[in-house]
């Protein structure tokens, strides 16, 4: 029996409703258990000496003074840890040509970015470890630093890794149709240069790991703030020479991740290696300042792009040349080529056009490594595409909504394959745009803009359609050889009191995964959500899974939970049918009661069934199965990714004297398939929009030409704050995926994907009558005034 999602009054109708989060009270009361809350007997702390230069040979390390500090136990160099920990190489076979040198837990011989860990100091307290770390003297011989992306491949630029031959990490050219002919014959060709700044994730809880190697058990336990416990199990086992079965990764509460916590960091592996050597629990919690130089960065792209359109606004061609600098190493094991690759995959995404060329060039540089961060590649591709579409509309005098409607795939066109060779199962661009137009009352907004202009106020409306890649199959990492699971599992069991425990391979980072799972399981079994307890984040306990990234938690983990819950329901009803001498097909479970499916009459509470099964099993027929534990796994098979779509709008005002942008309102209509919990989805969208607005207006990591980080603190790396955020209105269109019964696709990255483009287009809509245009993010007051020609140098 399948679930009648269309009927909101069906029994146990928790899927699709705002159900309270089971873990919210714990977190709000400060009763969560993060890595830093865990103290183990004999635990020690490690602090890292980090490279002060962007590129330098390590001549010598003098740790004598550090060793003399009270409480210091050991000091480790790169050579010390290389004896117990093998280096890793961040490449994937399906990203052809991607190269990267071996990377060690601590720099050996050479440091390649400011912040790279060079020496580890272990002490009985973090304070002593830090104190001693300041006393370690490292003798460096400076090497030339490569910091500019666009000249990284020039003949006179030094090669960072001579063994690799050049500074090119990866290049991919995708061509479809005849772009040059389309450009040559088009009614209009518009070109622009875009730039997205270097960002970092700034998680509330910094990266944290506590590793306990117990030689007596031959087991390593890592308490880790991570998005992918099973991936980390493999990584630690592989590089520390421990059988995979003897590494247990436990991931308790995590204070935000946004992709930051899905990568392998040298300081975290060093912490594990040190525990292996010292046979003691070792804790490392990054502080805010070292986070800025050691967490992954992202987004740092420079793009030249062109669009060709016909007189009627039809897109004839899009041509994109994308460059990105990723630091000195491709990050293990997901690699740093993915964001550039995504730009190639996603540009032009909403539109039905024929001629497409995109190339990404990924180069090494002496800055912090970049890797996947919320909405990987999407904000860049959407900014390029939607920026170009708006410019083309302006060039031919067409309304920006109209040009989109003329080019978006028709809602009944699916399945289709895009010019980037992405396969779309079912999207709703037109329905989403129609809904957005209703929500924003487009004509009234244009009238308000006109009225404001008369008063000398420069307001702008920005529209950004987008697609978002979710529910990844093994095509994302597995086919490249990485042991990163695209399938996920869930075990659901009923205990004697009729309550249900679900163990899932997807993880909770504060976004509400456990709430989503609890309502799916509650509906699947037929109990109230408060009777469901969720356990995630323990490789020795939960089914094997990928964890939470690429917007897969609900779509993959949720379906596994639903199928496991339905299987448990079947097991329960089989027992109940025997006990009640009824036909299982005529029974149902509702709110923890076995009931007559037709009349709803209560037949037996689940706790009575539990009492009989667990304590008086002797009264049941000998051959009656009573398996009140069921496990199911789910993997997508029909499509490499479940694409979602949506459209955002921004309304803002530009102060053309100061350059300050005031966000007036923001809207998003999003189609993530089945909405499991409307409030969680809406808040995910809002949180994502906020992160996108950060990229549009505030966030920018600055390096000088020597590779020194210039703004590594919360005082000068500006994250978006509540005071500047506009009211955000969220709407939904639901096109469930047919790959699963649940029909859910991901929702976690859509907000971030579209917001920067919407803001860029709104600013340019405001500035267009003044003849100015901005394309370099973030749109700081100064950049806006410079575009207006108002600053005299």
């Amino acid at each position: 029996m399948s679930i009648a999602f269309g009927n909101p009054d069906r029994p146990n109708s928790y899927i699709g409703k705002t159900v309270p989060r089971p873990n919210a009270e714990k977190l709000v009361q400060g009763r969560g258990r993060y890595v830093d809350d865990i103290t183990l007997p004999r635990m020690v702390h490690v602090a890292f000496v980090r490279a002060p230069l962007a590129h330098a040979r390590i001549i010598g390390i003098d740790a004598e003074a550090a060793r003399a500090v009270k409480g210091v136990l050991r000091v480790f160099t790169g050579a010390d840890l290389a004896e117990v920990c093998t280096p890793w190489v961040g490449v994937l076979a399906h990203l052809k040509g991607l190269k990267s040198p071996p990377q060690h837990a601590l720099a050996v011989d050479r440091a390649c970015w400011v912040g790279e860990p060079v020496v580890a100091v272990v002490a009985t307290t973090r304070a002593a470890a830090e104190e001693a770390a300041t006393l370690v003297e490292v003798d460096y011989d400076p090497l030339p630093a490569v910091t500019d992306t666009m000249t990284a491949l020039d003949a006179d630029t030094p090669v960072i890794h001579p063994d690799l031959g050049d500074n090119l990490a990866f290049r991919r050219l995708h061509e479809e149709g005849d772009v040059d002919a389309a450009l040559a014959n088009a009614h209009k060709v518009v070109s622009a240069r875009f730039r997205t700044a270097r960002h970092t994730g700034v998680t509330l809880e910094p990266r944290s790991i506590l590793v306990d190697w117990n030689p007596a058990e031959g087991q390593m336990t890592a308490y880790h703030a991570t998005q992918a416990p099973h991936m980390m199990q493999t990584v630690l086992a592989t590089h520390l020479g421990i059988p995979e079965s003897r590494v247990r990764v436990i991931c308790g509460d995590v204070g935000g991740s946004y992709g930051i916590k899905v990568h392998v960091y040298p300081d975290e592996v060093a912490t594990a290696a040190i525990s292996r050597v010292m046979a003691r629990p070792v804790k490392f919690v990054a502080d805010r300042l070292e986070s800025f130089t050691s967490d992954i960065h992202a987004r740092d792209h420079e793009i030249e792009a062109r669009i060709a359109v016909a007189e009627d606004g039809k897109i004839l061609a899009i041509d994109v040349d994308d460059w990105t600098g990723i630091g000195p190493y491709s990050v293990y094991p997901r690699t740093s080529a993915i964001e550039g690759n995504q730009v190639v995959n996603l540009c032009g995404g909403p539109y039905d056009f024929a001629n497409y060329r995109a190339q990404t060039t990924v180069v090494f540089q002496n800055k912090a490594p970049t890797c996947q961060y919320r909405a990987v590649g999407h904000p860049i591709a959407v900014a390029i595409t939607e920026g170009l579409v708006d410019m083309a509309a302006a060039a031919i005098g067409m309304d920006p909504v109209e040009i989109r409607r003329r080019n978006m795939y028709a809602d009944d066109a699916y399945p289709v394959t895009s010019p980037a060779k992405m396969r779309f199962e079912g999207l709703s661009h037109h329905a989403s745009m129609n809904k957005l137009m209703e929500m924003i009352d487009y004509d009234a907004l244009r009238a308000d803009q006109e009225e404001a202009r008369k008063q000398g106020k420069h307001r702008g409306i920005g529209i950004a359609s987008f697609i978002e890649l979710t529910n990844p199959s093994p095509f994302m990492y597995g086919i490249g050889g990485a042991r990163i699971s695209a399938q996920d599992g869930c075990t659901v069991r009923m205990d004697p009191d009729g309550s249900v425990v679900a163990l899932s391979g997807v993880t909770e980072q504060g976004q509400g995964t456990e709430a989503m799972l609890s309502q799916v399981v509650a509906e699947g079994v037929g109990v109230t959500p408060d009777k469901v307890r969720i356990i995630t984040g323990d490789t020795q306990v939960t089914p094997y899974g990928g964890g939470t990234w690429a917007s897969r938690g609900a779509g993959i983990g949720g379906e596994a939970a639903l199928q496991a819950a339905r299987a448990l329901r079947g097991s329960i009803l089989e027992v109940a049918a025997s006990m009640l001498q009824a036909d299982a097909a005529k029974l149902d479970i509702r709110a923890g009661q076995v009931v007559d499916a037709d009349s709803g009459e209560e037949r037996m509470p689940l706790e009575e069934l539990g009492r009989i099964v667990y304590f008086r099993g002797d009264t049941l027929p000998k051959d009656l199965p009573r398996e009140l534990v069921q496990t199911r796994h789910f993997i997508t098979m029909d499509y490499p990714f479940a694409f979602t779509n949506g459209v955002q709008a921004s309304y803002l005002e530009v102060d053309t004297d100061t350059g300050v942008v005031t966000l007036l309102k923001h809207w998003c209509v999003e189609d993530c398939g089945r909405v499991i919990n409307p409030q969680l989805v809406d808040e995910q969208i809002r949180g994502g929009i906020v992160q996108g607005l950060g990229g549009a207006l505030y966030e920018e990591i600055h390096y000088d030409e020597d590779g020194q980080l210039l703004n590594g603190s919360m005082a000068d790396y500006l994250v978006p704050m509540a005071g500047e955020m506009p009211d955000m209105q969220i709407g939904h269109v639901e096109t469930p995926t047919g790959e699963s019964e649940l029909g859910a696709k991901g929702a976690g990255e859509a907000g971030t994907a579209g917001a920067p483009a919407a803001v860029m287009n709104a600013i340019n809509d405001a500035l267009r009558p003044l003849g100015a245009q901005v394309t370099e993010m973030p749109f700081t007051p100064e950049r806006i005034l410079r575009a207006l020609g108002k600053i005299d140098d």
């Binding site: 104190e131 300041t134 300042l289 100061t658 300050v660 978006p720 704050m721 007051p781 600053i791 005299d792």
Partner: protein, 277 residues
């Protein structure tokens, strides 16, 4: 990072605090609200400080009406300055400034004396007392002395206070009838340090203009003040820009800050006109 303090002592009274300072061998640091000092210590920008905690000393907090002037004790918290009816009535510039200082948690802890003695060139209060022509009151081993606001701010984080002195209060001439005081600033986000800001006071004697976040100290823009007195708006903007040599940093270039100073001056003058109307 973990701070590395040299020591901590809580002072019973000002005399005790002065004794503690004298005994600290030059490493003494006054701890009041701690909103700048503790952050600096936690970033290890300041190490080995012998902290002299004056936060519990009686009588250093509060606002009193002393006839021609308002006396604001050094330990008066930003939030209390902002909410004080005497300040609102007689020095509205300070009330307005509080809205721009950081965030509620910081305003609840930070003190006006701490902000003035710290002398951050981007902070609002130093520019306010400069524009208002206030007097600072310090106490040292030799007794008390008064320092005019014009003489107080010497360089980035550097004031006329001697190492063995403590700032105890600031006295501010009460606004005369018809006096208008406005503060204008632009910050990237609410509560951030301003990219540029200014305090403009218009009294019967003329304009007083103090700009902040555009140089090593808050600056009294005397040429611009004279131009304003003469009713020459364009001349005031030009004089102000001439007087400034602002820094460039990751938030804004010197050229942008100069431009902004001109824009803000026009806005401040316009607001004064509105308030007088």
């Amino acid at each position: 990072m973990k701070a590395s303090a040299g020591g901590y002592a809580r002072a019973r009274d000002v005399r005790h605090a002065l004794d503690l300072l004298a005994a600290s061998d030059g490493m003494g640091r006054i701890l009041a609200g701690g909103q700048s000092l503790v952050a600096a210590m936690n970033m290890r920008l300041s190490e080995g400080d012998m902290l002299v905690d004056i936060s519990r000393i009686d009588g250093l907090a509060g606002v009193t009406d002393e006839g021609a002037v308002l006396r604001i004790g050094a330990l008066t918290r930003h939030a209390d300055v902002g909410a004080d009816p005497l300040v609102r009535a007689h020095a509205p510039l300070l009330s307005a400034a509080v809205d721009h200082i950081a965030h509620a948690a910081i305003r609840n802890r930070g003190t006006i004396g701490g902000a003035l003695a710290h002398a951050d060139p981007a902070a609002e209060f130093p520019a306010c007392i400069l524009a208002l022509g206030a007097t600072l009151h310090a106490e040292g081993p030799e007794g008390t002395r008064e320092i005019a606001a014009e003489d107080f701010f010497q360089d980035v984080f550097t004031t006329a206070l001697a190492e063995d002195e403590i700032l105890t209060a600031v006295t501010i001439p009460k606004a005369e009838t018809g006096e208008v005081q406005v503060l204008e600033e632009v910050a990237r986000r609410s509560g951030d340090y301003a990219l540029a800001g200014m305090c403009l006071v218009k009294r019967s004697a003329g304009h007083r203009l103090a700009v902040f976040s555009v140089g090593p100290t808050p600056l009294l823009a005397t040429d611009a003040m004279a131009a304003l007195d003469a009713g020459d708006m364009d001349g005031a903007v030009a004089a102000l820009k001439d007087a400034l040599d602002p820094p460039s940093d990751t938030q804004a270039s010197a050229a942008y800050r100069k431009h902004l100073a001109g824009v803000l001056l026009r806005r401040a003058v316009a607001r004064i006109g509105e308030q007088q109307a």
